[in-house]
Subunit: 283 residues, 2 copies
């Protein structure tokens, strides 16, 4: 099941061709995106995702997105969904076709089923490897043209890193700096649980501000957890009670093995945190 | 004038939609490309471009491209071109549509007119600024998942760097490392002329091997120039007789101003080098 909607709310066949060959999103990776989880018809953190889309667009000097139109497209997908309980809802926004005389950006919302691999990762956790990202934590502020922390569609490196993890027999990646600083996963935010406190690195080091991580921290605080946004090192991850990868669709995935080393069983902490996260969406 | 051909040699309307919304080239920047200059029906360095397409594809773990099919598509564009003397011929190859049950990669050749801005840059040269790329020269060998030196379509940073140059009142960019090492331009190879020798940095530092730079060095050697592929520093660029950006479509563009500082007039050297380069294609 797939549902495709454009920004005016009209639906279209998701299996048909809708994009020109000279779309700059395709030719140059010149666009931004969001992936939203919809459960029982309710999009999670929709406002945060839309705001982040606008933030990424600004970092790429794209025209300011009309967030009302984006919300309309998202809701059109949800209203017309006839598939499972959950929808993976992608918003994609590019600079548009190079040869389009009107110079219009490209934008659409695409609803898809959850990949069975995601369900397995949620249930069983993942093994991860640390891979160097090549950047230093100070770089994002110094060099905004590197688009560190923008959710651009130029994700070839993120995809290559996941393939490298697979080659090493692992499921996922935690990007690091040469000095051992923890950045993020290719499609997730790193969260550490230690002695009643949740930690995540600050987005100022050049990583994406995590919508799911933010919702988790909000929910966990209500249940007595402390939360801290501060730099982490790989050695910190080995010294806690749980390392997690937060992302919209996988929610909070346990990392059970890091660089081939088994981490302490974080099942109980995971259950507690998932309850705190889910409580944010209980009606 | 535009001409679009697919890998089986069939032509299609370049202004129609041919790409699905879930093409991984669009969603993830997960693809590679080449840009070839065609003059009077003759594609320049076609074999080198096809080989580099295959090299980039291997770096991204894409299926090995059928180079005979790519050549066929390129020639189909050239044969059906009814525009100006020169064609900008783009080859684009992506992992294909996520939801395509056949799992076929996407591939096409697109012929376009030369942008008037390019003609101006060829004639008048450009001003450039150095911008930090964030990587160190040793990284490419250590971290192949960063795809340094692959011509992937994940070019959002390259495009953002050019916009940053424009904001600074310049036309183009030379990417550098924090230690002052020279990498490449966002869409070009850096060439320095000094005392009868041409210099360019080695691709092993994580930059694209330049097809035009290679052809230039080949032609220049025949005319008595020495050529050296070795690391360069920004200070070297300021101490030579000419700094050039080599790229297929702009050929060899003079950098007349670097970081706001006028470089020595390289007009005579430029004319000599262009003659050496053009002689490679004289019939």
């Amino acid at each position: 099941m797939r549902v495709l909607a454009f920004l005016d709310g009209t639906l279209a066949d998701p299996d048909a061709a809708h994009i020109r060959v000279d779309d700059l999103g395709l030719l140059r990776g010149d666009g931004v995106f969001e992936t939203i989880l919809v459960v029982d018809g309710v999009p999670r953190e929709l406002r945060a995702h839309l705001d982040r889309l606008a933030r990424s667009a600004a970092m790429l000097d794209l025209p300011e997105p009309d967030l009302a139109a984006w919300e309309r497209a998202a809701l059109a997908v949800i209203e017309n969904w006839r598939g499972g309980r959950e929808i993976v809802l992608k918003l994609l926004y590019t600079r548009g076709a190079d040869g389009d005389p009107a110079g219009r950006p490209t934008g659409f919302a695409l609803g898809m089923e959850v990949d069975p691999k995601v369900l397995r990762a949620r249930a069983e956790g993942v093994s991860a490897v640390t891979l160097e990202r090549g950047f230093t934590p100070e770089l994002a502020e110094r060099a905004p043209w590197l688009l560190l922390g923008a959710k651009s569609v130029s994700y070839a490196v993120n995809m290559a890193a996941l393939r490298e993890a697979n080659r090493r027999g692992a499921d996922d990646v935690i990007f690091t700096a040469a000095d051992g600083s923890v950045f993020e996963g290719p499609t997730s935010t790193v969260v550490l649980a230690k002695e009643g406190t949740l930690y995540t690195p600050p987005s100022s080091i050049g990583i994406l501000p995590g919508t799911t991580q933010f919702a988790l921290f909000r929910g966990a605080e209500k249940r007595g957890w402390s939360v801290k946004v501060e730099p982490l090192r790989v050695s910190d991850l080995l010294a806690g009670e749980g390392v997690f990868l937060a992302s919209s669709v996988r929610m909070l995935t346990r990392v059970h093995t890091l660089d081939g080393r088994a981490l302490p069983d974080s099942g109980a902490v995971h259950a507690e945190l998932i309850a705190a996260y889910e409580a944010e969406y209980a009606s």
